[in-house]
Symmetry: C2
Subunit: 379 residues, 2 copies
Amino acid sequence: MAELSCDALDQLRDKIDVVDSQLIDLLAQRLSLVAEVGEVKSTAGVPIYAPDREAAMLAKRRAEADTAGIGGDLIEDILRRLMRESYHREKDTGFKCLKPDLGRVVVIGGAGKLGSIFVRMFRLSGYQVDIVEQNDWADAPQLFAEAGLVVVSVPINITEQLIAQSLTHLPAHCVLVDLTSTKQQPMNAMLTAHQGPVLGLHPMFGPDVVSMAKQVIIYCDGRDNQDYQWLLQQMAIWGAKLIAADPSEHDKAMTLVQGMRHFTSFVYGQHLAAENPNLEQLLEFSSPIYRLELAMVGRLFAQDSALYADIIFASPENRAMLSRYLARFEQANKMLLAGDRAGFISSFEQVSDWFGDYSEQFLLESRNLLMQASDSRTV
Amino acid sequence: MAELSCDALDQLRDKIDVVDSQLIDLLAQRLSLVAEVGEVKSTAGVPIYAPDREAAMLAKRRAEADTAGIGGDLIEDILRRLMRESYHREKDTGFKCLKPDLGRVVVIGGAGKLGSIFVRMFRLSGYQVDIVEQNDWADAPQLFAEAGLVVVSVPINITEQLIAQSLTHLPAHCVLVDLTSTKQQPMNAMLTAHQGPVLGLHPMFGPDVVSMAKQVIIYCDGRDNQDYQWLLQQMAIWGAKLIAADPSEHDKAMTLVQGMRHFTSFVYGQHLAAENPNLEQLLEFSSPIYRLELAMVGRLFAQDSALYADIIFASPENRAMLSRYLARFEQANKMLLAGDRAGFISSFEQVSDWFGDYSEQFLLESRNLLMQASDSRTV
């Protein structure tokens, strides 16, 4: 190792130190310039996330990087990471208020994890926001009387009942919105209880989201959609990506997006606990992809069991779909026990056909992500 | 939108252009300095991946970034991405040869995906490497006679047979190594066929790996381990992380790391194809975590069905373990059909206890990765 302390190496390392310190200065400069852009945008009420402009900027930088002899992927990855930082910093700056004469925004369950994100965003946009929790129902009627928007963000298993019992006397012009992860039943309940504008939302992000930039919010039109276009635009200003859906299509897709995912992760976790391997050794032995899979299963169990029980048990479609999955697993297992390698391969090829070009796209996408996982691997 | 074309905004964007162009220059400078360090290291035979030095450097930069008012996570992520680029660039520079008097390195199956990675690394390290494929067996005995190292990299279902039939007359001092994803049976076969040094390896990376830096290789000592220490050191110089394991422990862990993962992904894919949802819509509706899960399942089907069939069907332990998994899924499904929410929660809490601090760690780890996935989300 002695020869590695040679002057040549020390000199190189000193030079890298200088470059890194210039790098840090440049990053700080860029963040502050983007923050200034953000302020101009916020005043003008322009969405903080502009996909087309972003794509054009990245294409230009990739070309410049190519000319400089460094990889296009490298500069794109670094700029994307910087943009994330900028979005996160923008989260506490204000947003333009598109409906200053709205009246009160009342968020039922606004102290909860998801509700509080919306409370914060409405407040950052200059709205007067009130929170109603279980113990505040005495004050609720007075707040509702002055409300221009009521947002329901309560556990899925009490949503319908709460709407039916407590939201029947909202002002006619008031927009009624729910954030439930199923849409058909809560929307029916809202349409029955309230005669004014109704909108169903399903924010597709967890409570740990830092900024709404690039986050997907699914929305289902209920009634009088012209009366809540401002709200959709307001969320776009926050950076959210709004996707329209029919309530029944939404619910059907969610049996796969949520029910299937949560339940199979749950059983996977049960199985691991029962097999009881040495988890530390398992991680040591892991390829990046297996470590990621283990993390995706394990993360479930750091979260709220009641929340997942609610999501899984709330939908009868989940039960039916999971029974079909179980039947398929039994079939596949029979094939395995019979040593039917040819059957496995033929079935594999059929699924491969079904995925079509997506499987290759997924391979590329996950390869990049696995490299990132591997970048930050410390154990 | 007109007000956004104002001078203030144009000026800011011009300034960002200038910063970005300086950024690209700096990145190019840093890559070339690190390449020089790499050359010095390579001459000295020092591993290209030095975890302790890397950690110390990152800690220092984080502190500097803090002082400059930018996030420590930001600079760490950017530097890790840069280091990956440096590793990938180093992949074609040579490595110090630790055993210049070895004689021939013969890689059986060296034209295959995994074998060719090792062929390239040995050649980059100055060894004389010969490849033996199915049609080259006529020349094999002559190559074996001069071999200091024979590496077996053939499909798992022919590994044992090939070793038993064709590797019984290697020179006594020759190191015999396999790269199979199970270890007990191939190692027994090697120990029986060959009386000299035997080493089992299981590289825990896919054929798409660009550099061996940070990649895990599990190794199992077979016989005369003093005679292949140079090889372990050689792989460390390539940047690999070497983990010792007992063959039976290894195989047991792999039923979970590989068998469970591949088979459940296979059935998940079958289930999706049978449910036949609109995949494009599903992706549009997806949270980052579900998109990732879909990608992890879908990527399987862009790969070689025979390879996965071999891995899954090769091990009787896989069959037994998957039958236990199926039984657990049946139990959980009964709970679901019975609407046993309390049972679900109690079981969830037990698994959560089993994961212990790991579930929180996995949550943090995957959160960071999901942010990265979200950074690069384009659809």
